[in-house]
Symmetry: C2
């Protein structure tokens, strides 16, 4: 990395929509070097007050459902409607596979080439927690740079969806034609995170089965989708084709209705404030646990006590007390 710009240069550049400085700030956020992380924190704090003006949309679905085709078509439509679109991703599996969703340069080529779009692959290190933190901070940087729609793609691996749900305003779940069987790939609880479902591939030979899936999900959501008494939003189901563009406009209208409604009721800013606080506490948890695990004295006892708990030799409560006592005594 060339000589680092100053915080002031980063701030002014990002606020002016300078893609190069935005990209470099994101690289700092993703860096493992301590000095980069410190600078990243400063830059982020400097631009944070200018963030928050975008619509934050999480998009998920099992492999093969057509996430990238959808995002390419959906993003291009938004750009044509004078929006500036940032596409980010949370893919904790990328560090295992080496690859990364959005990393493949052959995906979303047209969208990525657009001046009004910014496509960034998933961070490839840090586990789900670390990847999500970096993506979340990247989202704030993109908002400060003037992108007014943020699309956060995630893979259908269960935990990652709820993590993404906690950083966006609206969660869209893509489903394939074929009905119940297709659900085998979807992890428990994911359906219930969705603010809307979109049945993809409603074109050509799949159109009929897409319509059938649509009817089944409509009915299924009516029967099984739990909600709260005070719930102001009932998840909607759409038929879309990334190929023909069918339904993309309706999905966008749906998202606008949702955000208008939750903006008017104040629930949008309330949700975002709650998300901020929840993230702070998650990170505190993470850092406390890191300190705990870094203790040599804890490591010395951990394996034995874990084995005793596994086999009911000692209670989980007893073991946790022992370990935390060891930790605090040796870190005074």
């Amino acid at each position: 990395m060339a000589a680092l710009p100053s915080i002031k240069q980063f701030k002014e550049g990002i606020l002016a929509g300078n893609r190069t400085l935005l990209a470099r700030a994101i690289t700092l956020v993703e860096s493992k070097k301590k000095e980069h992380q410190l600078l990243a924190n400063e830059v982020l704090n400097a631009v944070l007050p200018h963030s928050g003006k975008a619509v934050r949309i999480g998009i998920s679905g099992t492999p093969g459902v057509g996430k990238s085709s959808f995002i390419e078509s959906f993003g291009k439509m938004l750009v044509q409607n004078k929006h500036r679109v940032a596409v980010l991703a949370v893919d904790p599996s990328s560090q295992l596979t080496g690859g990364s969703i959005l990393g493949d340069k052959t995906r979303m080529v047209e969208l990525a080439a657009m001046e009004e779009a910014f496509v960034r692959p998933s961070p490839s290190e840090g586990g789900l927690g670390g990847v999500a933190r970096k993506t979340r901070e990247t989202m704030f940087l993109c908002e400060a740079a003037g992108y007014d729609v943020i699309l956060v793609e995630t893979v259908g691996i269960g935990q990652s969806e709820s993590t993404v749900r906690d950083m966006v305003d609206f969660f869209l779940l893509l489903m394939q034609p074929g009905g119940g069987d297709e659900l085998q790939g979807i992890k428990r609880g994911v359906l219930e995170l969705a603010d809307a479902l979109a049945i993809t591939k409603c074109d050509g030979s799949l159109e009929d089965s897409a319509r059938q899936a649509y009817n089944e999900y409509k009915m299924g959501m009516h029967i099984l989708r739990p909600g709260k008494e005070d719930e102001a939003w009932v998840p909607e189901v759409y038929l879309v084709s990334s190929h023909s563009g069918k339904g993309l406009g309706e999905v966008w209208e749906c998202i606008n209705r949702y955000t208008k409604k939750s903006h008017a009721s104040g629930s949008l800013s309330e949700q975002r404030q709650k998300q901020n606080i929840a993230w702070m506490w998650n990170l505190i948890d993470e850092r406390l646990m890191q300190g705990f695990l870094a203790s040599a004295e804890v490591q010395g006892q951990l394996a034995t006590l874990e084995e005793d708990v596994r086999n009911n030799k000692v209670s989980a409560n007893y073991a946790s007390e022992q370990l935390v006592n060891i930790f605090s005594q040796n870190n005074k």
Copy 2:
């Protein structure tokens, strides 16, 4: 409390099925006094190797669904089949209301009066985490005392179901006749914890709507219940009447099929070992957080930084770093 028995007396008494010593051990587990907690840990560790022989069943459902009537009838049936049944509860709301599920002595009177049954109200202090820990340890004490079926009742308040799911082998969700509308009370994700659904009140004037609900849930589960490719169990739906006893036997057979199957495959003991380890880590988390929050230096900064995070003045990452640094610097 009278002079405390020795650990040896507790152990021998509990293993001999002495109800008085069992009840006193549970009181120790629930006590807030440090010396009681230390003794409780010793007693629990002493009997733990003798626990684990029971079938652990979680039972939930929204208020009015008929949980206590079901448990009364179901428990009596089990006792008639020569089982010894312990009924416990996780009700974090009890500390707010003062009351507690199972606390009302007019509930389950017949079951509670049986020599082969042991009914214990929910601990009334400690928040969800604390209440769950106490109930979980009470479960182990009851198993050591020879109860071979443990029924853990919980209220339908969302988080408590997944907490109970993490301490039992099988999770039964009770639903009312009336179909979709009844679901309004059920929190997201709860349906997906269920290993079986039982539609209650299938008798008298409600029988028809119970049958209708049965068909809807059967279909709904088929359409929407997500699963893993490797999932060996598909949740079943039953019609029950606590009044006539209809369906209670089938539910018990279902639970037996499930436990036999998961015992044979080894997934039962695997799940229990995982549950033990997960609980240990939850408690470590809890204790680390307690230590963090107990720090005066942290408390001095917390409110300000929380407010700054809420309003995007500083990032969640930055604030968490500051607070954890303050904590560790002042606890060295």
